[in-house]
């Protein structure tokens, strides 16, 4: 594993590209897994269908990205080996994606924060110098725009709904805001990818994300929490406590029957 300092210069190695692809893939995978927990338990039947649709989009993205990552890695690992046979420290999703569903308000806040980020990120990745990634991004971008439409609509309804809903969704926002720094603050790998035109500079994503969120929060009559200090590093494999449990559940059959096909 290359250290952060080592990846700032020179050509992009397969290992670096692999790790960057896993950031995108794992974020979609883990978020999709969370949304899958909702199916059958949503506040209205129509929302069961909506959340399932978003989960399906996210798993679709994860599969394309994992398959490509496996190809880049060159060790013959397919999407399932990557999804089901890696442990938490080898997952590189942003920490926000693995946060528990909580109530519907918390799920919507998590979704809106990530949707706004994915919309901007995939929008920029369409211009990536990595052609295969650019193709995946073109498909993902349309999906994420719909996700944002959904989550932003709900953010506004809940924020500007009843006293109770505003209180709940504000609490969710206050609780999750601390994970947003990771989405917008580049580390060495982000910077390295940006310098080769594989990924956009995160500063660009930050300004667009902030504008998107500010407008949505204003319409939702919600208060933007202050920036939080603690830096999360899920994208480098250092997660919150929640990911291990999520993976334990997701991976248990594959772990119990190594080598079996399903």
């Amino acid at each position: 594993m290359s250290s952060a300092a080592e990846c700032t210069a020179g050509a992009v190695s397969a290992e670096e590209r692999f790790r960057y692809l896993l950031r995108l893939a794992d974020t979609s995978l883990v978020l999709g897994q969370r949304l899958g927990e909702w199916v059958g338990h949503a506040p209205a039947l129509e929302e069961d269908l909506a959340l399932a649709n978003i989960a399906l989009d996210l798993f679709g993205q994860a599969r394309l990205l994992l398959a490509y990552a496996g190809q880049v890695e060159g060790r013959g690992r397919d999407e399932d080996q990557l999804a089901f046979r890696r442990d938490a420290p080898e997952f590189f999703n942003v920490t926000l994606a693995e946060q528990p569903n909580g109530d519907f308000g918390q799920t919507i806040v998590r979704q809106a924060l990530l949707d706004a980020w994915q919309v901007e990120l995939y929008h920029s990745l369409i211009g990536s110098t990595d052609e295969q990634l650019a193709n995946i991004a073109a498909k993902a971008m349309k999906e994420c725009r719909y996700h944002w439409r959904f989550s932003c609509g709900w953010l506004v309804r809940l924020g500007d709904g009843t006293e109770e809903s505003r209180a709940r969704v504000q609490a969710a926002l206050d609780g999750l805001w601390r994970f947003t720094g990771e989405l917008l603050t580049p580390d060495a790998l982000d910077a390295h990818m940006a310098s080769h035109g594989i990924a956009p500079p995160l500063a660009l994503i930050r300004s667009r994300w902030e504008a998107r969120l500010a407008a949505a929060l204003e319409e939702a009559t919600l208060r933007q929490p202050p920036p939080a200090y603690f830096p999360w590093h899920g994208k480098r494999g250092v997660h919150s406590e929640h990911l291990g449990h999520l993976l334990t559940e997701m991976q248990h059959l594959q772990r119990l029957h190594p080598g079996a096909t399903w």
Binding site: V39, G40, P43, R145, C152, G153, E164, E219
Partner: protein
Amino acid sequence: MRPGLKFLYHIRLGSVHMYTQALDSCGTEPPSVAPAGEAERERQFQERIDRDEKIEPKDWMPDAYRQTLIRQIAQHAHSEIIGMLPEGNWITRAPSLRRKAVLIAKVQDEGGHGMYLYSAAETLGVSRGELMAQLLAGRAKYSSIFNYPTLTWADIGAIGWLVDGAAIMNQIPLCRCSYGPYARAMVRICKEESFHQRQGYEIMLTLARSGTRAQREMAQDALDRWWWPSLMMFGPSDVESGHTAQSMRWRIKRFTNDELRQKFIDATVPQARFLGLSIPDPDLRWDEASQHYASGPIDWGEFQAVLKGEGPCNRERLAARRAAHESGRWVREAAAAYADKHSDHRTGTGPAPGYAQAS
């Protein structure tokens, strides 16, 4: 198109002892003697049915026909919604990303089918809210199969293969049911469900034909547990079910419970054989004379117990639906409150929530 609020009906609940199992054989109390004039309308109504004309929402219909349909469609809708739970139980643990996507799509379809059916019931003048309230209060019936637990991944295969297989047998004749909105909903449902049984059988194939020993055992165990409950899905024998005749006269139902059950057995036994699995019925044998499989007796005691709420998961299923309904209330209220505050949204003429941001 829809009766509208003017026609709002207060529906009477069916008797508790009614057999409500088979999705197409919902019972009804015998129609009461119609008052003068009504008899002539009923005769004309029956003539329309006999000509295979479809009945549409605002058409005159006998009260018993309306009640039978409401009850049957509601049971069917509830079964779809409750049916999301046993399979949903494995979404987070599906063993490959492909299987996971398929399972989510399938469970989602069931939610969609519940919606189509509630939608059809609503054309009869009952609201989804009322039907849901009956379900949550434990006053409505749904297919008892969903009160059995999904214990291993093979259960997901067995449900697709057997439960969806049985459901399809029940549902295909309903596409020609005399009530237009129900028939149209069933056409869409049958079209969409055609993948459900196949994906289940594919899971069974993978486990039983190319799987490890543990996987084969898992598959056999699932078949052992799901076989009899699947046969019960068709409802009690015609000899005992007093409701079949009227429903058949109204063309709500087109085959008897026993006919459909036999059809299912005949189709399924060779499929089990191909998997190399054995059907858990020592009396099962091919009968040359009738050209059908003869099978052993069904334990109707178990069936009645599960219907009465004593199945392994009745409590859990209703509790899960209630929890979703209760914990979703503030969300539904918030959306309604938002819509009231911005009442131009209801008609779509004003700005919509998040519209400015949604680009």
